[in-house]
């Protein structure tokens, strides 16, 4: 990932490293991905020809808690980045693991939520609301899962101290991704769960 070899010290540039600039651009692109999915959901959330409507099955207290958990994981991610900048390897591993665990708890909650909804009668093909709800939150869940696997892999690689390129930069980059996924969740939580149809 970190490919800095073609870099010359005295080129005209933005000052951001290639990797970080690349990650920012990728996240910019991701905004549009979630934008498209959220728009689809907003268009279709009230179209329930069959099965439950959003308000009927959403469990707001539960989702608030799980949103809070995801937010806390952002906090631990910040701690991991700061540990990386202080070159505190133990701290990096510790906070990355904590972040991953909190993320896993969140995904576990999402699996619970999906199972519960399914049992209450909302399948993927039940209604437009069902299709678009599962697609949107599923995409977000997959993003969190990918993030967790990146975190855990980074811990594993870090333990062998063979992270290619700059370690703190890699941690920071994964941190950027993680915070982005959190922010997207806040938007989803607000638009999907809190605003009534």
């Amino acid at each position: 990932m970190a490919e800095t070899t073609t870099h010359d010290a005295h080129v005209s540039s933005t000052g951001l490293s290639n990797v970080k600039l690349g990650m920012w651009l990728f996240l910019g692109s991701e905004c549009l991905l979630f934008g498209g999915l959220i728009s689809t959901y907003m268009l279709y959330r009230g179209r329930v020809s069959d099965g439950p409507t959003p308000e009927q099955i959403y469990d707001i207290p539960f989702t608030s808690v799980s949103s809070f958990v995801l937010l806390m994981s952002s906090l631990t991610m910040v701690l991991a980045v700061s540990a990386a900048q202080k070159k505190d390897d133990r701290g990096v591993n510790l906070w990355l693991t904590t972040t991953a665990l909190l993320g896993a708890t969140f995904v576990g909650g999402q699996v619970y939520e999906f199972t519960a909804f399914y049992n209450e009668g909302l399948g993927f093909s039940t209604s437009l609301f069902g299709s678009s709800f599962y697609t949107l939150t599923g995409f977000h869940g997959v993003h969190v899962t990918v993030g967790i696997i990146m975190l855990l892999a980074l811990v594993a690689i870090n333990k062998r101290s063979s992270v290619p390129g700059s370690k703190s930069e890699t941690v920071e980059m994964i941190g950027l991704y993680w915070h982005f996924v959190d922010i997207v969740w806040i938007i989803i939580f607000t638009l999907v769960y809190l605003i009534p149809v």
Binding site: G46, G51, P52, P61, V69, Y112, G121, A153, A156
Partner: protein, 379 residues
């Protein structure tokens, strides 16, 4: 070029190919056995190719002292896999598949380990060679497995306990993770044994909880909902039904493009349609095509729009609403939720049979509002 290992695997894959061909010819085409045998063939060919590509044992020297060869996990894992495989043949297919996966994974690991240990005389180089081949797959697989266990266990626990207890235990679990993390961070001098101890307790706890949760199954209200399909029944009477009318939707995301807007205003029901300058009491709707009516309630009491779907010709249903056929009490009708004043809801109906096939007309009515009805004419 061909040495013992590659010969063995090439032979085995040849044998598997022979079996596959024989199976396809003599037993049946492309049944599950055929798929399984093709997978086995592919796996063995792949292994043979790997063995060939990595120049198996390209060292004329004999392996070094036995002491150099470390302990290996893989023979044991292979055995476990074989046991699972056999168990699967008896009990359930899932164990069989799991067994195949475990056996293949263990064999691959074993193979690479064996090869790397004889790659050179330098154990460090050997280990790094092994890592270079296997780390890319070990890291993500282990991470995914660990993650899967946590996620699965956690969700089983949540499904088993009550809604509010779930939310509470969720936040407790998350806080514990955070607190323990903070503890470790603030006390860098903690004994490694203690750290691992806490971690093991946590892991065992979550797995045990997961198994327990899976054993208990769904909590009662979920199980009941799954059984009865609460939200599938539409009850179209005056009174509020427990599930269907719960938390009625008040706004529409599709506002335009309806065939007609049906308004209940001052106790009168009328249809507003594009192209007609006055409210109508008669709607001509085309046959076999979903028509959307938007119901707007301007009455202070909660009201719903009910569409009678006629009485069918013998046998076939006269019309199908997009929802469940709601023929409670022998009535063929579908409806919106009970909605308060100012709210609106859409009702999409597909009339499959024309009016002339009916003894009673298709109508739109509002329960509790007498004498108001809109006739739907289906040519």
């Amino acid at each position: 070029m061909f040495k013992t290992g590659s010969k063995l695997f090439l032979g085995l894959s040849g044998f598997a190919a022979f079996n596959l061909v024989a199976y396809v010819i003599f037993v049946e085409r492309l049944a599950i056995g055929g798929v399984a045998l093709s997978l086995v063939f592919a796996a063995l060919t792949g292994l043979a190719a790997i063995v060939l590509l990595i120049n198996e044992g390209d060292n004329e020297r004999q392996p070094r002292d036995a002491a150099l060869i470390g302990a290996s996990l893989w023979p044991l894992t292979t055995v476990v896999g074989i046991v699972l495989l056999i168990l699967g043949l008896i009990v359930a297919q899932i164990y069989f598949i799991l067994g195949i996966v475990v056996v293949l994974a263990a064999l691959a690991e074993w193979l690479v380990q064996a090869w790397s240990e004889s790659a050179s005389d330098d154990p460090a180089h050997n280990e790094s060679a092994r890592q270079r081949l296997l780390h890319p797959i070990e890291f993500p697989v282990i991470a995914t497995l660990g993650l899967g266990v946590v996620i699965f266990s956690f969700s089983r626990i949540m499904l088993a306990i009550s809604k509010s207890a779930g939310a509470v235990s969720f936040i407790v679990a998350a806080s514990l993770v955070l607190l323990i993390g903070a503890l470790f961070a603030l006390r860098p001098a903690l004994k490694p044994a203690l750290v691992s101890g806490i971690c093991v307790i946590g892991a065992v706890g979550i797995v045990a909880g997961g198994i327990a949760g899976a054993g208990i199954g769904l909590r009662s209200d979920l199980a009941e909902a799954a059984e009865e399909g609460h939200y599938l029944h539409r009850e179209c009477g005056v009174e509020k039904s427990k599930y269907f009318d719960k938390k009625a939707m008040k706004n529409l995301s599709l506002r335009s493009n309806a065939a007609a807007i049906v308004e209940l205003r001052d106790g009168k029901l009328s249809a507003i349609m594009v192209g007609f300058n006055t409210p109508q009491q008669l709607i001509t709707a085309s046959r076999a095509n979903p028509v959307t009516f938007i119901f707007r309630n301007f009455d202070p009491t909660e009201r719903r729009l009910v569409a009678s779907l006629g009485n069918a010709m013998a046998g076939a249903p006269a019309a199908e609403s997009d929802g469940e056929e709601a023929d409670h009490a022998g009535k063929n009708e579908t409806c919106t939720q009970l909605i308060p004043k100012g709210a609106e809801q859409a009702l999409t109906i597909k009339y499959n049979k024309p009016t002339i096939a009916q003894t009673e007309p298709f109508t739109l009515t509002v329960p509790g509002v007498a004498g108001q009805s809109i006739e739907v004419l289906v040519p």
